[in-house]
């Protein structure tokens, strides 16, 4: 019996396990998943909690329930991987061996990596993150009776999970304060290490225009060095300072520490992989899926979904001793909430930046790319159902893993 061990039962680990269990011969392969706990969070929902759109209980379900019944799920902390011996040591002293290892342990916000940020006197008092359950629920309580002031939204460094979420948070904050009749009491500032509102030029222009229209000031190329919590200001490496009354930060995102302990992680604990096959550059028997790898694509559930479509067929070729013929193209597809019941949609990959157009049916839609519409917003809300009921069980979403250029308006240069 061969063993496929999957570390991480989040979006990528769960989809991969549920898809592979349908394809692998059960008399030959045993799949096992390891995770620390049984709480599977619908992370896109974290964005809505500070504004009271979703309650905390609407974003968490059982990991066990969403994993195929035949797959054992072990709850344990991972100590280290020994890639030469093909074993994984758990913190409780157990050792698991594997023939193939899938690393799907994601990334985590790390406020401890920026001096001052996690100062216990101010963390979750005047300084918040919203990418964790604890952070987003604490922020919801804070915003419920916040009297107004200078609200700074800050990205420490790329790459981060869901790179559009900080923009969405800002758009939704503008709408939230407007609807409460207190927008004039709030000064909104968006602080980014990038040279514009977003990484890709055409989308950055669209998002920059929206920030301006909503009266948000943009501070670009700001590399945060430390947070001065006593004087409530951000200080950059080149000694620029930005004051705040309330700071909503996206801390440095890092992969799991055990990966670097095991010699598998880079400077951000991400596993270097071939960007088309997701196979470790160091060890053929290791693949890294979802946020845990270092591919130059967005860290997002949609990327995990599209890459696993390609990965599953490759994996079958790999275990049959054949050459892997599938090549992931970096396809990502994200909704961007812009407030007041509207959203934008972007669709892009390694080589093609987000462009205007219609999606998924060329010329028809019903959704529009790089344009604020109610249909896009409905799509985003409907996606939560699809996440639990279609995506995680590994059922077909009806979207191609590869980016399609049909329906997109290509700029004439």
């Amino acid at each position: 019996m061969k063993k496929l061990l999957i570390l991480g039962g989040g979006t990528a680990g769960t989809i991969a396990a549920n898809k592979l269990v349908k394809k692998l011969d059960r008399t030959q392969w045993q799949i096992t998943v390891v995770d620390q706990d049984d709480k599977h969070h619908y992370q896109p929902g974290f964005l809505f909690i500070p504004f009271g759109t979703y309650g905390p209980d609407e974003v968490t379900k059982s990991r066990r329930r969403y994993l195929d019944d035949s797959i054992p799920l072990m709850y344990a902390e991972i100590d280290r991987v020994d890639p030469e011996a093909r074993t994984v040591a758990l913190a409780d002293g157990t050792t698991l061996d594997y023939d193939v290892l899938i690393v799907a342990t994601g990334v985590t916000p790390r406020p401890d990596q920026t001096p001052g940020m996690d100062d216990p006197d101010t963390w979750y008092d005047t300084v918040f993150d919203f990418y964790t359950y604890a952070g987003t629920t604490a922020l919801a309580k804070k915003l419920a009776d916040w009297p107004g002031g200078r609200l700074v939204v800050n990205i420490v460094e790329m790459p981060i999970k869901c790179p559009v979420a900080p923009l969405e948070f800002t758009f939704l904050a503008d709408a939230f304060f407007t609807e409460r009749g207190m927008r004039d009491k709030v000064d909104l500032v968006y602080v980014t290490p990038l040279d514009a509102a977003f990484t890709k030029p055409i989308a950055a222009k669209h998002f920059g225009d929206i920030l301006e229209r909503k009266g948000v000031s943009l501070e670009s190329e700001f590399m945060l060095e430390h947070v001065d919590t006593a004087d409530r200001k951000l200080v950059s490496y080149d000694e620029r300072e930005i004051g705040y009354d309330l700071l909503v930060t996206i801390p440095l995102n890092m992969g799991a520490d055990f990966l670097t302990r095991s010699g598998l992680g880079n400077e951000l604990n991400l596993v270097p992989v071939d960007k088309h096959t997701l196979q470790s550059k160091q060890y053929d028997s290791i693949f890294a899926l979802g946020d845990a790898n270092d591919i130059p694509a967005s860290k997002a559930g949609s990327v995990a979904h599209f890459e696993i479509d390609v990965f599953v067929d490759n994996f079958l070729e790999y275990i049959a001793g054949k050459e892997m013929t599938g090549a992931f193209d970096g396809h990502a597809n994200c909704f961007i909430e812009t407030g007041h019941g509207k959203a934008m949609l972007i669709d892009f990959n390694y080589d093609t930046e987000p462009l205007p157009g219609k999606f998924p049916v060329p010329g028809i839609g019903p959704m529009s790319l790089l344009k604020e519409t109610k249909a896009n917003h409905m799509g985003k809300l409907a996606f939560r159902w699809a996440y639990w009921n279609v995506l995680l069980p590994g059922r077909p979403m009806g979207l191609s893993a590869d980016l399609s250029m049909a329906g997109k308006q290509v700029p004439v240069s």
């Binding site: 790329m158 790459p159 990484t199 190329e221 490496y237 080149d238 400077e267």
Partner: protein, 104 residues
């Protein structure tokens, strides 16, 4: 791809002037590129540039600022002093490497 002339030599560059062919670069060109963006090169500057060159050779991508700092052992704050305002871009430009796009 545009071709430009630096120090009397023709080199291939992208639209923003970043060199695109790894082996067309040498230290003399690096020095000339530094002058174009008003960076006075010292041994400390060259140490950073040499790290970028060797890291690109093994990794195939321009290292991010964090990588130059952690893997290259150079203090981040010092890099901002050596290559003011935009250290990641300036170092890549002088080292004859593609503009870093560690950001997606």
């Amino acid at each position: 791809m545009p071709v430009t002339t630096i120090e009397g030599r023709e080199v291939q560059v992208d639209d923003e002037g970043f060199m695109t062919v790894y082996d067309e670069w040498d230290e003399q060109l690096g020095g000339a590129l530094a002058k174009l963006i008003d960076v006075d090169m010292t041994d400390e500057h060259w140490k950073a540039i040499q790290f970028l060159r060797s890291d690109f050779k093994t990794e195939g991508v321009t290292p991010t600022l964090r990588r130059v700092s952690t893997a290259g052992g150079l203090d981040m704050k010092r890099l901002f002093e050596l290559f003011p305002k935009k250290p990641a871009k300036k170092m890549a430009y002088i080292a004859g490497l593609p503009k870093p796009h560690g950001c997606v």
